[in-house]
Subunit: 329 residues, 4 copies
């Protein structure tokens, strides 16, 4: 059952918040990064990917974030704007920060990745830059956990969550835990917990939930226990992903739904989580049941990892429908 209560008369369906950067994909497949001749340029970053996915599925989407005031920052904003996303709340920073970069190899396994995140622009968004009014204009706010790793971005996310709760904007959290961004497991657990207490929907892998619970319930590996923790706060739905073993959606009413996966040939492993989150969230807003939501998420994930990019690989509603139909035949 999907008991989420979206406030429908709002101009924006979703606001995504956090990291938007540049992905640089190795030009040659199955080649070590040292040896490639160059890189293809795409927009990336988990919340940017989710925003792109939501937009392609037909939603009105806004983005809250920060990029550098230079050609790479402008590229990110131009791209998001070009696919119909409202970028009026993306701030250009000229203090010396740089739009985050992710250099990646193109491999199915052991896929090399080099992140440029020193003084990354996205982590400089501050609570002063969060508009209460903007958050009040959206049916849902999608946050991605990486934005919690450091102040002032952390403070900005926590304030956005307070505004969302105050105004009935449904909060969806994609855990998106990246250990290299954090100083200690305790810090991870403290801030993920504080954020999760304010969320309606939480989506993460089992490993990500372990990291969230590190300090508050060390050693727990029981999905049902993890889910219940957040039902004591504001959560309505907790989705726990188990890779090839599929996903489980727990609801506050006590239901458990299992979702499978759609096997495809893998081009590169990343983007799967963002694709899942966007299609799952879209289906929630459409009022679909848990089973349909999980199926949409899994289908979108499979589609993206079988393609060359992330933002650009996100499927339209029609592509998603066709893919599911073809695989369920």
């Amino acid at each position: 059952m999907n008991t989420l209560n979206f406030v429908n008369d709002r101009p924006l369906d979703f606001i995504a918040m956090g990291r938007a950067g540049v992905d640089l994909y190795a030009r040659e497949r199955n080649t070590p990064m040292e040896d490639v001749s160059g890189f293809d340029k795409f927009v990336g970053g988990s919340p940017a990917n989710i925003a792109a996915g939501l937009s392609k599925l037909g939603n009105k989407v806004g983005f809250i974030g920060k990029v550098s005031a230079d050609p790479l920052g402008r590229y990110v904003v131009n791209y998001l704007q070009g696919i119909g996303i409202d970028t009026s709340r993306i701030v250009f920073d000229d203090s010396g920060s740089k739009t985050g970069l992710a250099f990646t190899e193109m491999k199915a396994e052991d896929c090399g990745l080099v992140m440029y995140r020193n003084n990354a622009s996205d982590l400089l968004i501050s609570p002063q830059e969060i508009s209460e009014d903007y958050i009040r204009q959206a049916k849902a706010l999608v946050i991605s956990g990486t934005a919690l790793c450091r102040s002032p971005s952390r403070d900005a996310v926590l304030l956005a969550l307070m505004y969302a709760r105050k105004h009935g904007t449904v909060v969806i959290c994609d855990v998106d835990y990246r250990p290299y961004s954090w100083d200690s497991p305790e810090e991870v657990s403290v801030y993920y917990s504080l954020a999760a207490e304010k969320c309606d929907v939480i989506i993460g892998t089992r490993e990500e939930l372990d990291a969230m619970e590190h300090a508050v319930d060390p050693g727990n590996t029981d999905d049902a226990v993890s889910a219940r923790r957040w039902f004591d706060h504001h959560a309505q739905i907790v989705v726990i992903k188990h890779g090839k073993d599929g996903s489980f959606a727990y609801t506050r009413e006590g239901e458990v739904h299992r979702g499978g996966i759609f096997p495809v040939e893998l081009v590169k492993p990343f983007g799967a989580g963002d694709a899942f989150a966007s299609a799952f969230s879209h289906s929630l807003l459409q009022g679909q049941g848990m089973t349909a939501c999980l199926e949409a998420g899994a289908a979108s994930a499979s589609l993206v990892i079988s393609r060359d990019s992330c933002t650009e690989a996100m499927p339209t509603a029609e592509e998603l429908r066709d893919f599911i139909a073809a695989h369920n035949r």
Copy 2:
């Protein structure tokens, strides 16, 4: 009515957490700091003062904090230990931080103050240094807001609050808001709000509550509205102090109690809040009603500001009783 539910079979009555430093009081009264010949040395810092006050009133008190591994840090620990406080959870830091200092003039008005807080040891306490087991051993945890101003101390306090809630340790928060310690009013509001949501008792001045509410309810000046915000979370009692106009204690049950003040001749203005918090908290643990708690707080505050120091000026239970009796005659 005092509906707090202290778990009584615990070895510690109170744990205070946060800043413990050295106060250096001008040797000559009513003299500009430039012109004094030297300074008297005392232990200070809001939670250290509260801990001293609670200990003098007969409670078993522990302290969580961090000081520099040097003679001044050792002085702080020796002093607290000497008045019966358990200092086993005070960490000595040898990374180059320094125990915070407060140089003060001794004046009734316009009392000059110079703080040494650059790389202060107390703000370096980290969540890894917080023992869940220690917090489980106390009936109540007293936190002071200054410890929220910066990570990792901020993270440590938030984790301590999670442990306290998990184990039924009553949480008392003295807001102790120092604007110079913070970067922006939004940051103040975000972290004070997150902490306050986990507290059973909140004690602050009207100005401090304004700072807490800056982002989440800007412009509100109604004490009852402020109090209700926290009753929606875990708060049972919210005390709002109005200086010479006395204090108001709001309870979750909807009662409002007014407390007066005891007029005395002022030697120096500081220490009043810490004295209030310690006597009020002590009275809460004794199971006293709101009126008695407010009276004890006010009496302790008056006693301390009519004396030369802070920690040393804190009254015993007998002194407090005598003072109240003398003034109520």
Copy 3:
């Protein structure tokens, strides 16, 4: 006259020191960076370019520097090693620094450039990592001014200069002044002056010499005065470049030599200075006169800016000879 005194029985002809990074060149020419589809990957950084140029001209070259312990850092080292440079003194850093990046458009004019230099690995090389023995093994040390912009790299360069003076290693300084790397014009002037006092050969544009003299001789624009300043210390030759108007070489003996330029069709403006420095330094070591040295420098510069890359565009001795012959016909 070329009165430099190279100590000839040493295994290395040149050691270059400083920045070695990754250049990412826009795949499409004359296209704004926002709109290019991707980037070609090359090794770059002024001293790396000079080292490549010297190596291609047939010299035994070593490099002192620091790169990130990741695929991009390994690419830089592999490339330099592949063209015959001794990379045994390039340190891999795993503290979180990143190999510097330079994204560039490919345009003859208004050529957009985005530098990634936040916590750049090259600026982390420290004096502890400078081997006195290594510097004693080279005939000449080539430093590039950007390495002076920040400690510890600054300290490392200054120590390398002390070792070079102690052991008779000829010091060649390419000023390579990048305003964005520095905090104040006074700082620029102080450290460039201290370094220049220890150099045998100084190569810079008029604007670069103005920056060097900002504090010590403000307002001077007379090349001869600028040159004499350094002749009072260790300089033997000062080359001042005036763009399209050619260059002037001043010698300690009081000679002035003028060098012209070789007009070519410009593909991109960068790399010219590095090409000049490498061919000029090579000619110095060959014992050639000032006129021949200036001509070689100018020819190499013209060759590089008419080609697509930097390191790879550096000419061999034969290419250089042919180019000069063709143009002087």
Copy 4:
């Protein structure tokens, strides 16, 4: 022989540059710092002490430095001004830095010391704040090595040295090496060497000269070798102190002079070096020979360590004369 060439028609005899802070001396003698009741307040810091000493000996003295814009910073400036020092070039900083503090015990041996130097104001003086004209107005500039430990103070000192050399202001360097202020022995050696190359007079202990030479002549312990190194640059006189074994003054002309010490009863060990430097420098300006200069330095040192403070203990010319006469009887 004293071959220093002071330019005599200048309004200031000496400018001292660097650290000026607050010394807090334990009120009780021979008591651990933990147990003293308070502290007496004095002005301190090596160059401030030297400036006070020079002023008391009858010189016109100026000071270049930075203090916090608060009562403690104002105290430092008021005090120096009160003893006749020109403080027009002391900058008040309001960026959050703090005037440095030194808490000390009062003991003849194992004298405890706690320094507060985190974000110390004196280390924030920048090259932009150095007036070339001011340095041109003094016969001599006295620098103290601690100011070299960190930028921007380091940059400011190096620029002041360049101005002094340009205008014939005699430079006297008191090495004043404090290991805790520095990051690595190599950094110490690099910057002390660069500064010493620009000095006319260098005064240090054997241990301090070892630290200066760490990178450039490791293992040398021969005073004559140490002295000669600097004679190759601008030094005229190098004084090397050997504690109770007295001092040796080496001159560029090849002379060596030995100075003894005046035994006294020690109250506290600090201040001796500053007293020596001020009386020695004063005697140099008076045109006295090496033997007389060394005797004045030793006498002033003995006087100061037999007294309770530093700045205040500095002798007048008459006191110094009487002390020497009494001891030489």
